[in-house]
Symmetry: D2
Subunit: 124 residues, 4 copies
């Protein structure tokens, strides 16, 4: 965390990670934050996010009421918070991992084969 | 997405969002990516992450074998990818939402009341 | 488990519970089967079930290919297996709990108010 | 559903299935109950179940407070309700599927190899 320039991007995950460390330390919550428990908490929040889409159509899900959209944003924030905390505990660089995964997916799903298909790579 | 400085941080989520837009557009996958479906996909990946912690203890979850840790990182990458795509579709600023949520949690869980407790704020 | 009539229904959950007890005992798996771990496993299987519906429409989900329907049935079996094991550990009578919940829901969602609406009872 | 003897076991899933059909029909909720939506609802309830175990230890999860245990039972009831409704829509015999899965697992995890191990069958 050291040596980071002070002019980090406003969407920096490292900034968030720092703030979450401070938040947990102040409350002595680290003892609850085993990777296993954080993975559980992440799943609970992911499901609370999903709950908002439970009975609505695909089309309606793209046109949420403002109050629902706000709640959805808060559930997404919770997912990100636990994801960043878990990454911190396991010393995983999240954005690096995501960019590598995307590169990997680009190889698994070549444009000419995958275009317009929702098939798994193993079935293409 | 406009007006963003070219010197964005390497952990920028907006960079990842741009790359994911390009990836989906090239494969014509946007038609599958309703917010509802992205929320489902996020849950599926979150559970694949959780699967790695299924039968192990809290203590062992903090000391994963290198191969497991690598797989866990890949599942976390998948969660982040769907989270960023969903945020893009719903026009939600993820890091802003997370920082606001953290501020909100700081009020719900004052240090003196929450210290060392895993109780819900409503039970403090 | 005692005193159960020998002519139990073929769809008896108690029969299944007995078989699962025997299965776990023979493999010495009870040490892994804390309620917490069983709840995790149940969620992992529920998500594997959901994965089959990930990119398909509501309409298509009611008309699965035979091979997919078979796999879906197997994931549902896994969910039921963990649900029955968890109920056994916590000494919960599953079908009784479900029938009571249904009775409770009937009061929360009176026919004349709930007809045709997917709103939560608190919003009716 | 026809031809079922009137003396079905009290833990019969078919009884529950009948009651759920009636419940949904009266409220005209079948239009919401696509298999896809039911699978989502099942996951949401499974996560509400998991939430109760989120920050507690394996040991404590086997010794819940009575009020918590009651809530856990209600979440498990919800999971069973959606599981039975999904099985009804897809015409899947749940207990038969579970018993077949158990038989299948007995072959995948032979007693002498699986004893005391939480490894996946592919790693035994």
């Amino acid at each position: 965390m050291n040596g980071r320039p002070s002019d980090v991007a406003p969407d920096s995950l490292l900034n968030l990670q720092d703030a979450l460390r401070k938040f947990s330390a102040e409350r002595e919550w680290d003892k609850f934050h085993s990777p296993k428990n954080l993975a559980i908490a992440l799943n609970v929040e992911a499901a609370e996010l999903l709950e908002h889409f439970q009975w609505i159509s695909d089309v309606d899900s793209a046109d949420l009421m403002p109050a629902t959209r706000k709640q959805v944003g808060e559930e997404m924030a919770d997912v990100l918070i636990y994801l960043v905390q878990l990454a911190d505990k396991l010393d995983i660089d999240l954005t690096k991992a995501a960019n590598e995964k995307l590169q990997h997916n680009a190889e698994k799903y070549p444009v000419d084969k995958a275009r317009g298909s929702s098939k798994k790579y193993s079935e293409l």
